[in-house]
């Protein structure tokens, strides 16, 4: 009798599915949704231990289309960071995956984006970045390149906001860039981000096939395929697996995650130290001037405590503390009252 393939918690791939997508056929976001499902399946995380969070926009609709057995919240435009911060503080045992877009993050939500990174709640913050407002039918977003042309609005005169640079400036401890057309890298980076204890930002170029996929657009599939320059080959190795040594010494960098897993970064054509913030900043400047799509783990550190630690929270969720831990005694009230007599 043929048995279905299951992961370590006995679940099949189909247990990680969501509702059918309503995004356009070929949308980069659908590819990212697939990699989120694949990553969670392969990591054997029960979907009930994950929460999905989003703001407003095409990207923010997508949490309905993956992990149907996870609680989710499709909230307000640009406000996913605050929502996620509250949720994870109420229950720190959950894995939070937030999905946002370039409009949601770089424009209306840029303030919350920065303040969330400053506080460092554990949350995977995926930006599905296509340089355009899709649901409102094709306006420039703040990540659109200067000189970029759109059917509806002509040529964009303004410099783009680089969300990875913003994340570096805000002291984010996990900053990565990827490309929806490179699903293997997307998946490995998602796994690493999920294992990171703090806010992990993943800026993923995710082409909009309807409004911004012309060859000359830096957010198109063809441009991405042609210009993607991975920093390294990324492999996520779970805690329970041994790292298979098939690299030459000096050819890899290993990044240890809190949960014991390791991110193995195999050197490609340059030396790159992802723990050097200045180097990361320089790299992004170079990428902009040379018009390259540099992908991979740009920066990682574990210096900042995650928010539940800064706030001295217990291991168990605040949301499930019993009443006797939440209501001080009657005597204590009498004592407080006596101070005001």
């Amino acid at each position: 009798m043929a048995t279905a393939t299951v992961n370590l918690v006995g679940l099949q791939k189909s247990d990680y599915k969501g509702r059918p997508t309503t995004l356009c056929q070929g949308c980069g976001h659908n590819s990212i949704s697939s990699q989120i499902m694949a990553a969670c399946y392969e990591m054997s995380i029960p979907p009930e231990e994950i929460i999905k969070l989003s703001g407003i926009g095409c990207s923010s609709k997508s949490p309905a289309y993956f992990l149907g057995r996870s609680h989710g919240f499709n909230s307000l435009h640009g406000r996913m960071p605050s929502l996620g911060t509250g949720a994870i503080m109420a229950n720190r045992t959950l894995k939070a995956i937030g999905v946002s877009g370039d409009g949601d993050t770089a424009s209306i939500g840029v303030g919350q984006f920065i303040h969330m990174m400053r506080r460092n709640p554990p949350l995977v913050y995926i930006i599905e970045n296509n340089g355009v407002y899709g649901l409102t039918k094709g306006q420039f977003s703040a990540t659109a390149d200067k000189g970029q042309s759109l059917k509806k609005q002509g040529t964009n005169p303004f410099m783009p906001v680089d969300l990875c640079l913003q994340a570096l400036a805000a002291n984010c401890g996990f900053v990565a860039r990827s490309f929806a057309g490179d699903p293997k890298q997307v998946k490995e980076l998602i796994k690493a981000a999920v294992s990171y204890e703090g806010t992990a930002v993943l800026d993923i170029i995710s082409p909009c096939v309807t409004f911004n996929n012309r060859d000359e657009s830096t957010k198109s599939y063809s441009w991405g395929k042609e210009h993607e320059t991975p920093l390294h080959d990324v492999t996520y190795v779970p805690a329970r697996e041994e790292i298979k040594v098939d690299y030459e010494p000096g050819e890899t960098i290993s990044v240890k995650m809190h949960d014991g897993s390791t991110l193995v970064l195999q050197k490609l054509d340059r030396d790159y130290d992802p723990t050097d913030r200045m180097q990361a900043t320089q790299l992004l400047e170079d990428a902009r001037t040379s018009q390259k799509l540099i992908t991979g783990l740009l920066y990682v550190n574990h210096d900042q405590p995650p928010l539940p630690e800064s706030e001295n929270l217990p291991d168990e969720p605040l949301a499930s503390l019993p009443p006797e831990k939440l209501r001080p005694s009657q005597d204590s009230l009498a004592n407080v009252m006596a101070e005001f007599a």
Binding site: T85, S320, M337, F340, A341
Partner: protein, 611 residues
């Protein structure tokens, strides 16, 4: 007649006046940032501990240092603690407002002031007590950095001597203020004693005002509303609070940060059973609050009108996605930045309908510091029972000023966590639909993130949804869901705190009021009754209205709705709820930034009654 003769005659007449005991309003006029709070607290606490009913109101500018501030203490043997227009005693410590302050005193009032001021004493009808502030400072020579504070102790000593405030109670009040730390108590008390001694040696009492020990404050406490609200939340099991600084709500969050570490740390692990986050703005404050409420925490935020404006979008989302949260609105004067340090009840309509499209919110109306405490914990029960934002509308007067109260009662019911399904529940049910009205009361069942049952998950959204929380634009899904929300809103009428009704024999007039105006209304009713105008009174404690509100309106010929806003907002809400009674409801509203007074209520009511 020479001036000297007039003076002598006047003095003689004031001495002949019978003493006025335990009935005075005293204002201390200072410059903000000069540390008069310790002195004012010493005076009011001493009076309170002498058993005399008191209230203390700080009238302050939107400024950190250098502008005029007035602290008013009312002492009333009759037990009335509302603001009163008339001021009998002035402690003038701000030369810039001296003439203005003098002009505000009643005929024959009293003025204490530093003796080195050179301004003319324009009012001849007053009793003046010059105080040698500089001289006493020289004698006591306190440390330079404490000079201003200690200087303020001069008026504590002189006033105490002239009004017969007991010196032991001044000392006890200072001990409370300084948490029993001996050094500051002794340093301040040394000046109080020196000033009192100087007054005893050099001043002759020429005014009729005095206080004497009573027994009317036994067992009571003196506390501000924001501290009370925060304590309520602490005992209500608050898990999560997010806030952004704003007057007059900041001290509520400050009090959370003071009492939570003391009362709500797990004694074994030392870990917090709560988190308080200062957000980057009110958008984020309520966003975090909604996230935590959705994930199962007892979650709250506290703000004032401008913050409520920023919270509108999330409030609509929380209403529609049915997320339990508590929002304290400590109201201040608007519109816009308005008068940020002055009180008002002007957010009623805004909060009631906060959010675009159709939305109606439940709000509670504490009328005392004891109710700030009670609604502080009860609001969480209501939010989780009704799965909706619960607003609590306090105001600057209630929140930031000092009120007497019975000691707060420990919650008399266990926490109500509402309709939450566990894994076991879902196993037994075998199916789950987040927004289905299983019980017919409009309140659906929720599951919390982290519930391990495969049926537990649902997708919270602000978009149209069917009863399984799945996106829907079907007209029937929309209308059915909204009809259920209104059914739930009707259910709320039975859960929210019922109004309190007080009848008087022979009353034809009905008064409706709420919130911080309670003390003024009580005083007005007592005095009106003495004048042969008895009134019935219904004190609202929540919106939506319960059946007893409708009953009260139906059974009175004329109803006056007392409130502190320009648009008679509560009257409008009542008229919307009771369209067939609308013309009976008359506005008795006033809105100038100051707490309502009994006199204003009486005069306005009698005028409208044609009396």
């Amino acid at each position: 007649m020479t001036d000297a003769v007039t003076e002598e005659a006047r003095l003689q007449s004031s001495v002949d006046k019978p003493p006025i005991v335990n009935d005075l309003s005293m204002v201390v006029a200072t410059v903000n940032g000069t540390g008069s709070q310790t002195s004012n607290m010493a005076l009011i606490r001493a009076l309170f501990r002498m058993g005399i009913p008191v209230s203390g109101k700080n009238l302050f500018p939107s400024n950190i240092q250098g502008l005029p501030t007035w602290f008013t203490i009312r002492a009333s043997g009759e037990g009335f603690v509302a603001r009163r227009e008339t001021i009998e005693i002035l402690v003038a410590m701000n030369e810039a407002t001296f003439q203005e302050d003098l002009a505000g005193l009643v005929e024959g009032g009293v003025c204490f002031y530093p003796d080195n001021w050179t301004q003319p004493r324009k009012r001849q009808d007053l009793v003046y007590y010059p105080m040698p502030v500089q001289e006493l400072l020289k004698q006591q020579s306190p440390p330079r950095d404490l000079r201003d504070y200690i200087a303020n102790m001069v008026y504590v000593g002189v006033v105490a001597e002239i009004l017969s405030i007991e010196m032991d109670e001044i000392r006890a009040a200072l001990e409370t203020h300084f948490n029993g730390r001996a050094k500051p108590v002794e340093m301040n008390m040394a000046m109080v004693d020196a000033a009192a001694q100087w007054a005893a040696d050099n001043l002759t009492k020429q005014d009729p005002y005095m206080v004497e020990r009573s027994n009317q404050t036994e067992g009571l406490v003196l506390i501000d509303g924001n501290t009370s609200s925060a304590l309520g939340a602490v005992y209500g099991g608050v898990n999560f609070a997010a806030w952004y600084p704003i007057t007059p709500a900041s001290s509520l969050a400050d009090a959370l940060l003071e009492y939570l570490p003391r009362l709500r740390k797990d004694p074994e692990s030392g870990k917090a059973t709560y988190a308080v986050i200062q957000a980057e703005d009110e958008l984020a404050a309520i966003g975090m609050t909604v996230g935590a409420g959705w994930a199962g925490a007892r979650s709250m935020t506290s703000t004032s009108g401008p913050g409520i404006s920023l919270m509108a979008e999330f409030a609509g989302l929380a209403f529609f996605a049915e997320i339990p949260i508590v929002i304290w609105d400590v109201q201040r004067m608007g519109p816009s930045t308005g008068m940020p340090t002055r009180t008002s009840q002007g957010d009623l309509l805004f909060v009631r309908f906060l959010g675009h499209g159709d939305s109606r919110h439940v709000f509670l109306l504490p009328g005392s510091v004891a109710e700030c405490f009670e609604f502080g914990w009860r609001a969480f029960d209501l939010a989780e029972r009704l799965q909706t934002p619960i607003f609590v509308l306090s105001d600057l007067d209630l929140g930031m000023n000092l009120w007497m109260s019975e000691r707060f009662e420990f919650p008399d019911v266990p926490m109500d966590r509402g309709k939450v399904l566990s894994e076991q529940d879902l196993d037994e049910l075998g199916e789950y639909a987040r927004y289905r009205d299983v019980d017919g009361d409009g309140i659906p069942y929720r599951t919390l993130p982290g519930n391990r049952h495969p049926l537990a998950a649902w997708f919270a959204r602000g978009t149209g949804h069917n009863d399984q929380a799945i996106y829907s634009e079907r007209p029937e899904d929309w209308t059915e869901n909204m009809a259920r929300l209104w059914r739930k809103h009707d259910t709320a009428r039975g859960y929210v705190p019922a109004p309190i009704v007080d009848h008087m024999q022979g009353a034809e007039i009905g008064l409706i009021g709420f919130g911080s105006t309670l003390s003024a209304i009580e005083e007005a009713r007592a005095r009106l009754s003495q004048q042969g105008v008895p009134t019935d009174f219904l004190r609202l404690r929540a919106v939506p209205f319960s059946e007893s509100v409708r009953e009260f309106v139906r059974t009175h010929e004329r109803i006056y709705v007392v409130e502190m806003n320009t648009d008679a907002q509560m009257r409008q809400l009542l008229q919307l709820d009771l369209p067939d009674q609308a013309t009976k409801l008359k506005a008795l509203n006033h809105n100038d930034g100051l707490p309502l007074t009994a006199r204003w209520i009486m005069e306005e009511l009698l005028s409208q009654e044609g009396k």
